[in-house]
Amino acid sequence: MNHIVIIGNGIAGVTAARHIRKISAHKITIVSAEADYFFSRTALMYVYMGHMKFEHTQPYENNFWSKNKIDLIKDFVSHVDVENKRLHLSVGETIRYDSLIIATGSKPNKFGWPGQDLDGVTGLYHKQDLEYIEKYTLGCKRAVVVGGGLIGIELTEMLMSRNIPVTFLVREKSFWDMVLPQGESEMINRHILEHGIDLKLETGLKEILADENGRAKAVVTDKGETIACGIVGLTAGVSPNIDFLKGSGIEIARGVKVNRFLETNIKNIYAIGDCAEQHEGIGNRRPIEAVWYTGRMMGETVARNICGIPMKYNPGNWFNSAKFFDIEYQTYGWVWATPKENEEQFYWEHASKNICIRIAFEKYSRLFLGVNVFGIRVRHEIFDRILTDKRTVDYVIDNFDKVNFDPEFSTTYNNEIKDAFNQFIHTAKLIQL
């Protein structure tokens, strides 16, 4: 029986612990300074908005951990001694491990903006961030959120739920346009405005101004505008939370370097989730993937590697999802913001509702490459099979009724989409199959 220590109790670390427990009797310890129990990070916004209480974000009852013999330690790992296989903690005594899993997740990016460390300036990632936001939004007259990605729009939605007017600074031409193609991105722009948000596109942060108490009182944009505000959200992406590993001998770059077995350069030390960095990206994926699902998948994989059933981290077809205020988004396969040379993209948008779909496919073979759906729910299982079986775009269009996952009685747009597709094929002068 080995002692397996996991640093971090997020989805990656906890999935690893659960799967190790499923297939072995090893002693398992999870160390986290953030929270007593695993909670769903993505649900923090709902706590602030009053949809749920914090304890509702905890997917397992508190006795789950002792029942499954998973020890929890609330402490901060200050240093890893790889020679003696020991973890040094901020408060408690050192812990000896046989295998170590680093699953410490991310931290919000800061790009050296003047005033970025003032009081009232925050990211949105940790449970502590939520408490911080709670404190600084008390009596707040306006908030400024910087960064046009998924966390930025979530923070904006949160603040609006408390009737705090928000100015949303997005450096890009259009919301999240490095990921979303123009049609989708502009739909989200309109939806953001529909919710009464002061969206400023192509506007970056220049500096944050302090009042006499060292608290943020305004931001200055790169367009020279000064916006008075009580809280500033910095949500310009995240990067691996691995500062404590510097000098430990564990190879790090932006993240902890791992091979396909999620092993670091040091034997019996693994890294998973947001903080892990592949030597090179797998397929079209990036070397660092800060996504809930990949964290979970790496947790499943590392558990098997630790239990002596070697398995490469082999993520299947790409998928992701999000919700932008009221618009749900799902994606399967790869849809690039700008189609690659051999690719074609078919796009259909509802005339008045926030519903659209984009299908990417290979121009000549008609091979289906990926899909974005907004305001329509689709079945993961079927799109996963379509991608694996290498079906054509025509197959997807013909079978679109089978992939729908909307609630019963929902209006479907299968015929409109089909007609639009035929029209598209016609005008794009592609071969009618």
Binding site: P59, S161, Y293, E300, T301, M311, F319, F325
Partner: protein, 530 residues
Amino acid sequence: MINQVNSNSTTRADISEVSIKLKTAVGIGLIGLFILLLALLNVQLPYKTSWLAVALLSIIMGVVLYANEMYLNRPAGIKNDGLWFKSLTSRGMLGWSMGILLTSFYIVIYWYPQYLGLDEKNGNSGIVAFFDPFSKLLNGHAASQWFVYGTLYTVAILSFGYKFILKYRHNKYQIVRTISVMFFQLAFAFLIPEILSKLHPEKAYFAKDLKNMWPLNYYFFEDWHLKNLLDGGNLGMFMLLFGIAMIFIISPILTYFYGKRWYCSWVCGCGGLAETAGDSFRHLSDKSEKAWKFERWSIHLVLVFVFITTVAVIYSFLGSNPSYSIITRNTFAYIVSIFLAIVIGTLYFFKRKNMDKDAVYTMVSLGVVMLSVLLLNHFSGKENIFFFESYQLRSWYGFAIGAAFSGVIGVGFYPLLGSRVWCRFGCPMAAILGLQQRLFSKFRITTNGGQCISCGNCSNACEMGIDVRAYAQKGENIVRSSCVGCGICSAVCPRGVLKLENGKEEGRINSDAVLLGNDVDLLNILKQKK
């Protein structure tokens, strides 16, 4: 283009104005309630009919205006902001006060209706008298406390149903379902029975709500009710036969195809109130495993209780009213024994794999005990088939379950324990439908591959206290006997993970599901490992 729009959108649209309109709406509703309070205090209002109309319309208008202001001036979508902050909906002072008020109201209505002004001998006073003209108009009689209650109940379902429709106006399943509960309450539970009794003024009372079947309507087989049905002419006979067909034919077929939701969240009056007026309290249900264990004991014990009470009541009815009886006591004892043996035998031989061990054990031992008691008493010629006097059994049931549980706790405790306490812990109808839903039905909630982020919105919204997330995050279908198919878990899911479906029975329960993501068959690996 976008920058031009900006100047108008820097603040949220007219927060203060909205709140004034909301206040006005609440005010109008409260005036309606105040008029009813005056009537309760025996203030003699002239033109009773008009004042009653003003009161009820004010209540409806108040809710309608409130809902319009709340939901119509912002984009359609999930509207749960501040749910756990507001005093009313988070067991705060307002929630407690409302719970106590409602509970007191139920205690009075069940056991002290005279305080509401009910007086069958000398004529009503108070709020019951206030409803007399309306009652006479509908059914030809003076009002009873139940007429007052039925009217207010209907008003609540209609007005809060409207609110619910606006709240979920982006979701057609919710709209259709809510129109259905509003319709069944207004027509089947309220208007049709009242009008039918006006058309047959000479007949003694019997239940005329076609959808309110045994065992939810526990007095259906009581001697007085059977007599009134049998004396009730064609209508009585129809109600008797339809009631029996509902139990043994219509309900099992519908539940097989659609799950228990066809009843619990589309038709039933208790469910109707829970889904409309109770919607703001749905998240207060206890999601713990402990609560689930308690639920399984309590609801099935109520089912056993109503079963033996009903058998005992019919048994003694057959003995003391041979003239009414189509069958003899003997035949009845045999029919019940065979029925019990078949039901438990079928469950044991075909479905025990789908049930927990302790459930199978409990079911079989209870079945054996009931059968032996029944046959023992029958063959020793006892008057009471289950030891106790049948009238005693049924008065206990009526008090403890029919009144205290379903009314006082069931609705009175909405703001404290959630809107489905009765449906979850006590309703024997829900127990029967649930058993069928779990074991013989096409209904399930399908989960969508690997898209779950374990956020917990689904579990939070589940009025039946099902930990939906526990299934969703494992990619398992949700096949639970308690699920009433309201569909709110699916509605609030931010990632499109849940869908209510009727499909093939095969593979419906998939407790060894594997989440999509890794490109490897984890299931096979796990199986090899085992």
